[in-house]
């Protein structure tokens, strides 16, 4: 009789469904997974070590590049940690702006997840729709920060600047006629807040579209129902957070349980799954998008009515305004010191965790009183989720591994750091 051996297969790092640079060594018995061994680190840039040699503000743009589909949320955790160490209070308007952009970022992340997850298991259409909406969200990023992805908009002490009064518009070019430009600029006539409000009105209809494509789709359900089931106790032991934990039926959301910024003033529901499979996690994320949209709407209403400062006026932490810097010697010194030596953070240690779109994103800063962190540890949610891939995929088929990777919402920027 022929000798029967398990077959070892390499999945990635250049597989399109590997979501970046995941190398997965699969041990197969026929088509059934016996063991999955993820090899990570192909995108390791040692962000934590780099941060040790840079001032606090210089490291901030690195945070965008961690989880590069939810940029502002990464910055948020980093800024929160510094603010807690410094003991400074962020102006209320900045808190609302942060809450609003956190939720817009959640939409940005979930739309990419939805598009790529459905693309992985065979649906092209959702991907195209999701990217259409992401375009509008990128425009919002661009309007406040000038950058479409890597915003560096949140700063310790607030946000870099206030929301623009005028939404940037498309210009006529050799590629676009007057009529096309006018159509593109239809909802960009007012301020950024008008544009966002218009988006929040349109968005529920878009989510309905995605649901029409997927929720009752026979192929989608065949690929996701009963795949990668995680029991609630197991999800907690494996360190799952965010939609992965809620999909298993644990009602845990840091925005509710340990509220930061102005989440305690917001009205929203926390969706929870029942079976803990890929389909339930899909439903949880879809509902989260609707809830995020609600939060954004509430923030827009408040921000319209309440002008005010958006960054602390402590010039040891935040730069002075440009005008006073040009006319006032002391402010000039502050500006110079802040951007050369940087701010000094008192000795101590702090852990700040936020409800990132993927789960709990934590920043642990250990400071010895210098102008640079002594040790910065970034706790990425998808790192923990990926470490459970072996357990989740055992006994499933090869094709299900793709669905499980998709449901984990993996981004290598934050796993490899």
């Amino acid at each position: 009789m022929a000798e029967i051996r398990n077959y070892t297969m390499n999945f990635g790092p250049q597989h399109p469904a590997a979501h970046g640079v995941l190398r997965l060594v699969l041990e197969l018995d026929g088509e059934v997974i016996e063991r999955a061994d993820p090899h990570i680190g192909l995108l390791h840039r040692a962000t934590e070590k780099l941060a040790e040699s840079k001032t606090y503000i210089q490291s901030l743009p690195y945070m965008d590049r961690l989880d590069y589909v939810s940029m502002m949320c990464n910055e948020h955790a980093y800024c929160l940690a510094i603010e807690r160490l410094l003991g400074i209070e962020v102006p209320i308007r900045a808190q609302y702006i942060r809450t609003m952009f956190d939720e817009l970022t959640r939409l940005l992340n979930h739309l990419l997840w939805l598009g790529s997850h459905s693309l992985d298991v065979g649906g092209m259409t959702t991907f195209l729709y999701a990217f259409r909406e992401r375009e509008d969200l990128f425009d919002m990023y661009e309007a406040v920060s000038g950058a479409r992805m890597h915003a560096a908009y949140y700063r310790p002490g607030g946000v870099y600047r206030d929301l623009p009064e005028r939404m940037p518009q498309y210009q006529k070019s050799s590629l676009r006629s007057d009529r096309e430009v006018a159509k593109l600029n239809e909802n960009r006539q007012g301020s950024l807040l008008d544009f966002i409000e218009d988006f929040t009105r349109r968005f529920p209809g878009y989510v309905d579209d995605y649901e029409t494509l997927l929720t009752d789709n026979r192929i989608w359900k065949q690929r996701t129902v009963g795949i990668g089931v995680v029991a609630p106790e197991r999800a907690i032991a494996l360190g799952f957070t965010g939609p992965m934990l809620r999909g298993s039926g644990v009602p845990w959301d840091l925005r509710r349980k340990q509220p930061y910024e102005v989440y305690e003033r917001m009205e929203f529901d926390v969706p929870v799954g029942v079976h803990g499979d890929c389909y339930d996690r899909y439903l949880v994320r879809i509902e989260e998008m609707r809830q995020s949209n609600r939060i954004v709407g509430q923030c827009v209403d408040w921000l319209r009515a309440n002008p005010g400062p958006v960054i602390v006026d402590n010039h040891k932490v935040a730069p002075p305004p440009r005008e006073s810097m040009k006319s006032n010697m002391e402010e000039l010194i502050h500006h110079f010191k802040l951007f050369t030596e940087g701010m000094h953070v008192p000795p101590g240690e702090v852990y700040a965790g936020i409800e990132h779109p993927k789960g709990e994103f934590g920043v642990y800063i250990l400071s010895d009183g210098a102008n640079k962190p002594y040790r910065l540890k970034l706790r990425a949610p998808d790192y923990v989720h990926l470490s459970a891939l072996d357990e989740m995929s055992r006994g499933h088929m090869i094709a299900d591994v793709v669905a499980i990777i998709g449901t984990q919402d993996i981004v290598f920027g934050s796993i490899d750091r």
Binding site: K49, Y351, G362
Partner: protein, 199 residues
């Protein structure tokens, strides 16, 4: 919030007793220092004792104290810092343990308590060279295949020791000693107390 941290501190003090070397509360967070030998027992208490019930391990990381405050560090060099979360009581706690031997740091593994710690321990081993006794699969995780050294130690240069390039003569990728000089644009400064007082 502060009452809750203090009640946590009291509960931890009672449950851990002698095993806790120190329990501090700072910035609204509770930090417990435990000797490496007592770690598994103390962590089991933190996980299971009814007033504590830290069911989730959020984070674990290595720390190298060699250049703390730009001075020579007295005391043990390597530490492992664990962050725990209690879903039942909605509380967090930080546990720190120092490895006894600086040349060969060893800390007991906690994989039996929280499976989530598996990769965190592999990462700390990879980046700091801290050995976790009892870990079932202590391989490198983030660095390259065949990497030498532990890059997050303070004596490891930021630019590393080797660089990789394509050699057209040999027709393959080769490693060679780094050709760039490490440079630090902003020096690391530790000011005297109250220099940057934010009040």
């Amino acid at each position: 919030m502060t009452d809750r941290v203090e009640s946590l501190e009291a509960a931890a003090r009672e449950a851990l007793g002698e095993r806790a070397r120190s329990i501090d509360v700072a910035l609204g967070e509770c930090t417990i220092v435990v000797a490496a030998a007592d770690l598994p027992a103390a962590m089991r208490t933190l996980r299971d004792a009814p007033p504590l019930r830290f069911g989730m391990l959020v984070d674990a990381c290595g720390v190298d104290y060699a250049t703390w405050a730009n001075r020579a560090w007295e005391g043990r060099r390597f530490a492992v810092v664990y962050h725990l979360l209690s879903l039942a009581n909605n509380q967090r706690v930080r546990v720190r343990t120092f490895a006894e031997d600086d040349d060969f740091p060893v800390v007991p593994s906690l994989v039996d308590l929280w499976p989530a710690i598996n990769w965190f321990e592999r990462e700390a081993f990879d980046l700091f060279g801290i050995v976790f006794d009892g870990h079932p699969d202590l391989r490198r995780l983030l660095t390259d295949y065949g990497f030498v050294g532990h890059p997050f130690r303070k004596d490891f240069p930021l630019s590393g020791h080797v660089e990789m390039r394509y050699d057209p003569e040999q027709g393959r990728v080769v490693y060679q000693p780094v050709t760039i000089e490490p440079r630090e644009i902003v020096p690391r400064v530790v000011r005297e107390d109250k220099y940057a007082d934010t009040e």
